[in-house]
Amino acid sequence: MQALVQQLIYGIQLGSLYALIALGYTMVYGVLRLINFAHGDVYMVGAYVGFYACTKWLPFKDLTTNPSAGTANFAFAILALLLAMVLCAVLGTVIERFAYRPLRNGLQQADAHFWGIIAALPVALRFGPLLSPLGGGLFIVLAVTFGFALRPVMTWLRRRIVLSTSRLNALITAIGVSLLLENGGLLVFGADQKFIGNVVPETNWNLVGIQISSGQFTIFCISLVLMAGLRYIVLYTRRGKAMRAISHDIEAAKLMGIDTDRVISFTFALGAALAGAGGMMVATLTHVKVSPLFGLLPGLKAFVAAVLGGAGNIPGAVLGGLVMGIAEAFVAGSAYSTYKDAIAFCILILVLLVRPAGLLGKNVAEKV
């Protein structure tokens, strides 16, 4: 019995993390009907932000040598968490603006500057790192030149492109972005695995034979707080209302005067911030390796969780995450631990056969 309760607690802890990532998938799916494959990689970037904040950017002290630095480190850790959320939100917005929006609205002239920066990057890197005077200077010059050179190209393309409404296109673009973040991460962060040392004091609590570690408990609590915050935003703010309106009917929302592009950007930022927070917390508090493929497996499972709960449904994502986490913990703890990754999909397939739109999703009948 005790062992079962213990596994249940591990399952809930794991599930809360899946839920946190799944929220990003589900919100984006809600407004755009797009499976944002790159979401798991945003989670990865969050972990890297955590790593650099803990080792380079912020004056953390290692607790093994400085046991008294706990409180100061705690404050810094919260700062690092906020930093990860902000940077990931920016990343999410950039991805939406330059990869997904052109799919909906066509390429804009201003997009030229973004692609100019991208094109300038490898050229400038040939001559030195971006922080060196030569590399940096060259980068700025090239980025501006390329940007202006590409403006007419964008205009020309804009006239030529026949926008496609196919969801497959958006999916492939998302896959492209995901590959780009993974391989770009490999270039920028390096392939070596990074670990974050002890930055926050850690203890293990033993409650009547049930073990709870402070790190996992913190992740669980912060996830709850973030989810509550999200719920507040979605239900009680103007932006949240706009989000719900768009997910209900994007055309009607446009007619009602909602700036859909801005709200969609905001949705991406929200989801990415949650994923960033998740990545940062996991990297700092559970000390798992941080590598460019950090987000692959958690991302996939969170995605399954989102679909399980009903894609586009926010409480559904949380429920799906918890179901996945608990199922995985129980299978992992059983004699069939080798099948723990298969079980996620088996549950999903079974649930979808009974409820084709997920646990909480509404099965909207197609009208002719």
């Binding site: 000390h287 497996l297 992992a332």
Partner: protein
């Protein structure tokens, strides 16, 4: 309906056409199943009849295939750094008989079919005289069979699966020990420590880990111990608590975790979290400067078997290697870098000794390697192309690995 009938008739005609066609061809091939055919059963390895490539001009072209991108990019890049260092050092010391060695590295994106493609490219397009490569046994198998086909000698730095050298052929060698040897060392060690009940926690996705676990279980049972339980994880997992909690219920005296350092640190921490306070036992996959940062203090007192490679051993070569590596890459080398370095060193040594700088010449030179001092121990290549090396058992004390015991192949009975 007519359409269907037509299709069926034509389809049948087509099939019978192919069958007759196939039948005609059969006597010609005489059951030949290609160069890598499965006709291997104990003893001699298949011999390559191809002559490989020979050196032309003033440069010796050596190929390398590695997983520089994809799932195991970390291991590929680590190995590559070691190889590059050894080649650079050899060139700085005058190369091989005045000829410089040029390393041609190709990425296989951690995919077996790409490994086969790039090794084919290296052997036939670039015409390299020898190939170094791959960490993963599945990819070394693919690359090895290509090398065997063209008679180009190949040395794998760190593929430990016994099949890699026995199933491919006489062109394939390795500088690391095989799964069965290392696992036997771990089993003997566990036995010598007086452990009776050991649990196993393996990485199901990793061939190395699965083979290690299996061989350990066999050997440990032979020695009279019992494996109480077996749980699995997958490379990339971040939560191991559920499995560890189950293992805890079986109250083992030690846990074998034959994985890579990238997960071991987290596993050790979470083992402490679930209240599992027994030593962990591992293999050479643990050897990395990143092990302790990943594990914190959770691995204190745990053991792992490893190559004959330690700062403590007072081996000047090892110290020189670590310093040179640090100077070049600004990090400490891990076991994979050290093995990559040794593989390249073995090749350079063989190139110097080779009677002729072509496939058979280099192959014979590699095969006759005896007591070559590498940074991972003295290397002697046996009849199966494997390195016979002693193994060390380290204990983790604070931030250091302390040599705890040494096992020679004779002690284990291999």
């Amino acid at each position: 309906m007519r359409q269907t009938h037509r299709n069926i008739v034509v389809g049948a005609a087509m099939l019978s056409g192919i069958l007759t066609f196939g039948g005609c061809k059969d006597p010609g091939t005489g059951g030949g199943t290609g160069s890598t055919g499965g006709a291997v059963s104990g003893g001699a390895r298949p011999k390559s009849t191809a002559s490989g490539n020979s050196v032309t001009g003033n440069e010796i072209l050596v190929g390398e295939y590695a997983s520089l991108t994809g799932g195991t990019a970390t291991f590929g890049q680590g190995t590559h750094n070691g190889i590059q260092l050894a080649i650079d050092e050899a060139n700085a010391a005058g190369g091989v008989n005045g000829k410089q060695i040029v390393l041609k590295t190709e990425d296989d994106a951690s995919k077996p079919e790409q490994a086969q493609t790039v090794v084919t490219k290296l052997c036939t397009d670039d015409k390299v005289v020898a190939v170094l490569g791959e960490v993963a046994s599945t990819r070394s198998m693919r690359g090895g069979s290509v090398c065997q086909k063209y008679g180009v000698p190949m040395i794998t730095p760190s593929s430990t699966n016994p099949d890699v050298t026995t199933k491919t052929g006489d062109c394939v060698f390795r500088v690391c020990f095989t799964d069965d040897f290392q696992a036997a060392v771990a089993a003997h060690f566990a036995h010598d420590q007086g452990y009776k009940k050991v649990a196993v926690f393996k990485d199901i996705k990793n061939d190395y880990s699965v083979g290690f676990a299996k061989n350990f279980t066999d050997e440990f049972s032979k020695l009279g111990g019992s494996v109480t339980g077996e749980q699995t994880y997958q490379e990339g997992d971040t939560d191991f608590k559920a499995q560890l909690n189950t293992l805890k219920g079986q109250s083992p005296e030690a846990i074998l975790v034959p994985g890579y350092y990238s997960e071991v640190g987290t596993i050790a921490r979470q083992a402490k979290d679930v209240g599992l306070n027994v030593p962990l036992i591992g293999g050479d996959g643990w050897d990395s400067p990143q092990l302790i940062p990943g594990a914190g203090t959770a691995l204190e007192g745990s053991f792992f078997t490893d190559h004959y490679f330690s700062v403590e051993l007072d081996n000047p070569d090892t110290k020189k290697f670590i310093d040179a590596f640090k100077a070049k890459y600004n990090t400490n080398p891990d076991a994979l870098s050290a093995l990559g370095y040794d593989a390249a060193k073995l090749l350079v040594d063989a190139l110097k000794r080779a009677k002729t700088l072509d496939g058979p010449g280099i192959k014979d030179a590699i095969a006759s390697t005896k007591d070559l001092t590498g940074v991972t121990g003295k290397v002697t290549i046996d009849a199966n192309g494997n390195a016979r090396k002693s193994a060390l058992v380290f204990q983790i004390k604070g931030p250091n690995f302390k040599v705890f015991k040494t096992y020679t192949p004779e002690q284990i009975g291999k």
